[in-house]
Amino acid sequence: MALETTEIQEKLTTTFGSKVLEFKQDKDIFSFEVESDIITAVILYLKNDPTLRFNFLTDLCGVHYPDNEESKQFAIVYHLHNWIDNKRIRIKSFLNGSKPEIKTVSNIFLCANWMERETYDFYGINFIGHPQLKRILNMDEMTSFPLRKEFPMEDSGRTDKDDRYFGRTPSNC
């Protein structure tokens, strides 16, 4: 029998109480939020529970919400997949904007290793306990985190492209 979303919700609520919240069917995927301090416990539970069996971490990425309140400026999104019942879920965990950090899940799902490095690379989110948290795609010398919304679209100090030759003015770009 297929795994029902109500069953997932019930099991999580009885185990973790109000720390797992905002359950909703978002388009075609069942989504909910988890408080960042219990993320490893929730993911481990989803993986090891004999009925839930979310054995595969499809994706892990960051999101920046600069307009949110200070405590919810960053989010980490986890996509889990149960191969046995072919059920997918999405977990969001919000992080503090001034000091974004969350425990690593790379010891639960090995594939999270590079995905967390990528998230660190682009958002500067610290994954506590990650075995090798350093930049993966950008060059090591980089000091900024380019996918944060405050990152300027263009380098204002560039000398190589003269806007006059490209027909660009501050109003049209």
């Binding site: 795609l137 950008n138 060059m139 980089m142 900024s144 380019p146 990152f151 263009e154 380098d155 560039r158 190589d160 492209k161």
Partner: protein, 182 residues
């Protein structure tokens, strides 16, 4: 004579006599170098595909003396950089250039290698001339094989007319020093 269609490169200007031919060393060396440029393809994206067509039988870059594609920088004369070079790739490109023996030439093929192209962004090197000196730029996104062949022919002209002393000249040393090479 047979009906073979082998084209020979014309000899340089000189004095012909019975049993001798006198000309300038520069011209002979230039002629030899220009017609045996061993290419080193550094292909990272679609321009590399165009280069494959350029090397293949239809466009046949071998007609210009570039028969042997060298995949070792140590045995190559002409570095063809084709495709987007990210800033993370820049030190690798530089290392490849440094490993090439003098005399060495560089062709930047396509918009990305010459100027960063459409990738006007934080991760992309805005033209390889930020890290290595470039002799010929081939425009296009990607350029057609004819354009790449044209770029090679223009480089051949440069090579033919280059002084044998250029590589030890103070100007050249200065150029390399401006790129922090050696």
């Amino acid at each position: 004579m047979s009906d073979s269609k082998i084209n020979m490169v014309a000899p340089p200007e000189g004095v012909v006599g019975e049993g001798f031919f006198a000309t300038r060393l520069n011209d002979v060396v230039g002629l030899a170098r220009a017609n045996s440029l061993w290419p080193l393809p550094f292909a990272t994206s679609c321009c590399g595909i165009e280069f494959m067509a350029t090397m293949a039988s239809h466009y046949d870059l071998a007609r210009f003396g570039s028969e042997r594609v060298s995949f070792s920088p140590r045995q190559a004369d002409m570095l063809l950089v084709m495709g987007t070079i990210s800033k993370k790739m820049a030190p690798i490109l530089r290392q490849v250039y440094e490993q090439m023996a003098e005399p060495r030439w560089v062709i930047a093929v396509g918009a990305c290698a010459t100027s960063g192209g459409i990738f006007d962004t934080y991760s992309v090197l805005q033209g390889i001339d930020k890290v290595i000196p470039v002799d010929v730029y081939v425009p296009g996104c990607p350029p057609r094989p004819e354009q790449i062949v044209d770029g090679v022919m223009r480089l051949q002209e440069l090579v033919k007319n280059e002084s044998v002393r250029r590589r030890s000249s103070p100007e050249y040393q200065e150029l390399l020093a401006s790129y922090n090479i050696q």
